[in-house]
Subunit: 255 residues, 2 copies
DNA sequence: CGGCTTTTTGATGTCCGTCAATCAGTGTGG
DNA sequence: CCACACTGATTGACGGACATCAAAAAGCCG
């Protein structure tokens, strides 16, 4: 049995420099306005939105559904690098890349809008938009670093706790939910590819979370039963979004 | 015994959009020029250059030595998120962050120059510099994603191969070396924290690389004995910098 | 109801972590 | 100059977390 990871380091939310936070807010509005002028596209489940080899790929605004950024190995193994939720603006770094180098795939039916790289570069002339784009990449980087730390040092149980709480915080932050219950349009196989474990192990870990009365995950439905206890588990890594400061580290589980 | 990971996916180097590659080059020159106006600082081994909680931290240009970006957990475990080599410009995203959220620590005696966040924001008014800053974060992100994929899906042997080759390519790319031999100012403990394994396992993996005549790592000295075979191992992940396209995937080791 | 995908469970093996001890290199002070 | 401490590297024994293999159960859809 895993031991819950007692809180780990200065738990800090991501925050932007005061001097630019106003700009970033304005830039967000301007950028979204630009996106809304573009037509809505839709993608069926398991179809590619952007391929790793596409030339000068666009940035995306996810309207509804869940998209994945993934890297598939020749031998069939796959790593899911990031998960994209509704209202997310993603891939703004495409403004500067010749190729995306990763696949963006719909995990459920997805509605999205696109902004071509050239248009993005043109918009960047407005400093607020440039600031927002920078903030977006900083945020993505921060989440990526966080998961890297988790992958290298936490066991499957803790990674799963971190993952569920991370999705919950993101959905709550954007106002998409207000109770700790949501639809997660991912198969256990995909969760496994995201957390670096097999589908089989995902199933076992979810059973243990259920037994520990921390969370119920049945098919696509996630119900977090004890947010506080779950948060204590992952207290060592900063929360995904500005959130009330985490409570005391506590040891909820003994070997 | 590990099996060498047969090549994995479309192996592609990072490349920038043609429309901005000229700007990025110019921006690089301008940005470095700005750095060179700042005084050189030095940090002793194991001392912090930037702390996770520093307010509005600066960006850095590494002049000599090796620095680490790390996240230390309460229980003492540590994840080394990134490795910074001479000539690297790092942490430009600090221009927009209230706090760094990670520690930057000298792994060897380090000489570096700093550019404060406010100065960076001011420099960004020049589109070429903005482009270069964006390119830098895109590059860091790309390396981070690559390592995330490795951490979630490759075993220790393959991760080590990827790591050694990655450092080699970066050093060669910047002209710091031209033969597959270099000083790596990291302890095995630090390598372990970077690759998500224990110091003890690092030692065992390095022994196996030695037995397989792929690489010698003795103390701080790394000698890659067979670059091509090593490259075949990691062929599934894109090379760290624009490099000659990787050869055929080959299976150099059988279970 | 068949045929599909997804989830679950069990048995077995292995990669890698933990514990413990030794060894090599480096520096320090008497 | 040599004991001594200290840090880093190495090795062996052992156990546990997780992968792999195999198969069955449970949803889902025409």
């Amino acid at each position: 049995m895993a031991q819950l990871n007692p809180a780990i380091s200065s738990a800090r939310a991501l925050a932007f420099a005061p001097a630019v936070s106003e700009d970033i807010l304005t830039g967000d509005r301007l950028l979204r306005r630009a996106f809304l002028k573009a037509p809505m596209h839709s993608a069926q489940r398991d179809t590619a939105i952007i391929s790793a080899d596409d030339q000068e790929p666009p940035a995306l605004l996810i309207h509804h559904g869940v998209a994945l950024s993934s890297h598939t190995f020749f031998d069939g193994r796959r790593a899911i690098i990031d998960i994209m939720l509704p209202t997310d603006i993603v891939c703004v770094e495409h403004a500067f890349l010749a190729r995306s180098n990763r696949d963006i795939v719909a995990a459920s039916p997805v509605g999205y809008r696109m902004l071509p790289a050239s248009k993005l570069r043109q918009l960047m002339a407005q400093p607020q938009i440039a600031a927002r784009m920078f903030a977006l990449t900083a945020e993505a980087r921060w989440r990526s670093d966080r998961r890297t730390a988790a992958l290298s040092r936490l066991d499957a149980y803790n990674r799963m706790a971190l993952f569920l709480l991370g999705i919950y915080d993101r959905l709550r932050r954007t106002g998409l939910i207000n109770r700790p219950t949501f639809n997660l349009h991912l198969t256990e196989d995909q969760i496994g590819d995201h957390l670096g474990m097999t589908m089989i192990h995902v199933s076992r870990i979810l059973r243990r979370l259920r037994q520990d009365k921390l969370a119920l995950v049945d098919r696509q439905v996630v119900i977090i039963l004890d947010v506080e206890r779950l948060r204590a588990i992952v207290a060592g890594l900063p929360p995904v979004e500005a959130a009330p400061s985490v409570g005391h580290p506590m040891q909820a589980r003994q070997p």
